[in-house]
């Protein structure tokens, strides 16, 4: 009896029919993944150290290369592809990526916003304090404003 496989476990290759089997196709997939990942990694190190690129664009470039490397890992090592039997794995991954994006992006936006909003009065930069202290004068200013407003 043929086993009807509706799903593939994450990390397993989707079923390739026997007629398309190549003896070393497994090794080939991993090797391609390794080589592409190596190229991307070396490129990352080069990008971080070169002066040939416009400096403000370097972090963005590094981020793109990192995402590409993660994609290579997912596809070549973890076999997360877009086949019909991989749908559950992709959905779980998509949800995970959404949460990561919300946590990372949300935290960065919020903390930057708090930093800007709460430190404006004192012109002190973060590197002179052990990170993220609200300066007394700005808190007092807020309290003063609130008290004045509620008296009005």
């Amino acid at each position: 009896m043929t086993e009807t496989r509706l799903d593939v476990a994450p990390g397993e290759r989707p079923r390739i029919p026997a007629s398309e089997h190549v003896t070393s196709s497994g090794v080939l997939v991993y090797t391609i993944g390794l080589l592409v990942a190596l190229v991307l990694t070396i490129t990352s190190f080069w990008v971080a150290n070169t002066s040939a690129l416009w400096a403000p664009g370097v972090p963005a470039g590094l981020a793109v290369l990192a995402i590409a490397q993660m994609g290579v890992h997912l596809v070549f090592f973890l076999h997360i592809t877009s086949g019909p039997d991989n749908t559950n794995n992709i959905l779980a991954l998509a949800f995970g990526v959404l949460i990561v994006f919300l946590v990372l992006g949300g935290s960065l936006v919020i903390m930057a916003n708090l930093d800007q909003n709460m430190m404006a009065h004192t012109h002190l930069s973060n590197s002179d304090h052990a990170g993220g202290l609200t300066h007394d004068s700005s808190v007092n200013a807020l309290i003063r404003r609130y008290r004045d407003a509620s008296k009005a």
Binding site: L102, V103, G106, S107, I110, N113, L114, M118, G132, T134
Partner: protein
């Protein structure tokens, strides 16, 4: 503030994690006791998915007052208002499930109706709080305390009580005593309102949370009412304890012999009470929602014999083992020790957890096989009215 930010990134989804199972319980209870299918199944699923995603986009509303700019506050205020919509969809679906049905007012249904009536208002105060200017006035006041109790108690606690009464016979083989159940519900319902509605007033009068003492006399009458409410809630809890004791004592009169004490709609009611370790002797064939109900209609229509000749197969079930429980025990020890920097204790906890996991890992058998004869014997000695 980074700590506060990360805490609430977890903390807000957490309260939805708390309430979603309760929503599921309400769906089951309202459908079963109205003898009607759940209204709007697809929109229920859609609403659940919407809540899953949206609950990760609102967390800043827990710290509106901590210095973010107006635009950031506005964004999270808007998302906090949007997230009320899917829950509203669910409330309408439960209402329409009951509408036009023959509603049997049992204890689970009392808890469900109590939920619907109370939770809506609690949710509305949440929408009020979602407005940053309003929140700036009442943040960390008793208004806020009243709001979150006004959603958690009807939402989560009433749901747990409804589920407790609903599934108790399935789990233990006998029903819970009805009258003490009704008494506990009314004590909780009245007590809850007396205990928490005054807190809105007192919160708007300026009383903050976590006060060790207060010296504003005008708050006092309201707080006395709240105290009375708390005492009545205590009465409700005592009624629940008495209910359990009485039910155990009278369990033979309350015995569930058919496996289906509520004329249920879903598959669990097709098993014996309590069910065997393998649940179903033969995997049920399911062609629609409320499969058990559909099967019952077919059997009654055709006057069929409920159980035709069946082929029993041996069934594999997980081996009973305490690994999870013991590992959790060591995890608690480790966590406690890490908080208080008791390094030796942390080591003990980690080693204990590791040893437990290793013991489990090297046990040769993960499963136990139940023989076909054992399955057949159970089925013969525990006939159910209609089985799938």
């Amino acid at each position: 503030m980074m700590y506060v930010n990360l805490f609430w990134v977890w903390g807000h989804p957490e309260v939805y994690i708390l309430v979603m199972p309760a929503y599921g319980i309400y769906s089951e209870v309202s459908a079963t006791f109205s003898s009607k299918p759940l209204f709007g199944y697809r929109s229920m699923v859609g609403a659940t998915l919407a809540i899953c995603v949206l609950s990760y986009t609102v967390w800043l509303h827990h710290f509106f007052t901590m210095g973010a700019s107006a635009s950031v506050n506005a964004f999270f205020g808007i998302t906090s208002m949007i997230i009320g919509v899917p829950t509203g969809v669910k409330i309408f679906n439960w209402l329409f499930t009951m509408y036009g049905g023959r509603v049997r007012i049992t204890v689970p249904v009392l808890w469900t109706i109590g939920f619907m009536v109370t939770f809506v208002f609690g949710g509305l105060t949440g929408v009020l709080l979602a407005l940053p200017p309003v929140d700036w006035q009442v943040h960390n006041s008793l208004f806020l305390v009243a709001h979150f109790h006004h959603v958690i108690i009807p939402g989560v606690l009433f749901g747990v009580m409804a589920g407790y009464n609903y599934w108790f016979p399935k789990a233990f083989g006998f029903r819970l005593e009805e009258r003490w159940g009704i008494a506990s519900f009314w004590c909780w319902f009245i007590g809850f309102h007396l205990a928490f509605m005054p807190l809105y007033v007192v919160g708007l009068m300026g009383m903050t949370r976590r006060m060790q003492h207060y010296d504003v006399l005008s708050w006092q009458p309201w707080l006395w009412v709240a105290e009375a409410g708390a005492v009545i809630v205590l009465g409700g809890i005592l009624c629940q304890i008495v209910q359990l004791v009485v039910s155990i004592r009278h369990r033979e009169q309350l015995r569930d012999t058919t496996g289906d004490p509520w004329n249920g709609r879903t598959l669990e009611w097709s098993t014996a009470s309590p069910p065997p370790a393998w649940n179903f002797a033969v995997p049920p064939r399911v062609g629609e929602l409320d499969a058990f109900w559909a099967k019952k209609q077919r059997v009654r229509a055709k006057q069929e014999q409920p159980v035709s000749r069946r082929e029993y197969q041996p069934i594999e079930v997980p081996r009973n083992n305490p690994t999870g429980f013991v590992t959790a025990f060591f995890a608690v020890i480790t966590g406690f020790a890490l908080i208080w920097h008791i390094w030796w204790m942390a080591g003990v906890g980690l080693l204990g957890a590791a040893a437990t996991l290793l013991t489990y890992m090297f046990h040769p058998d993960e499963e136990v096989e139940i023989s076909a004869e054992q399955v057949a014997l159970f089925d013969r000695t525990h006939p159910v009215e209609v089985s799938l």
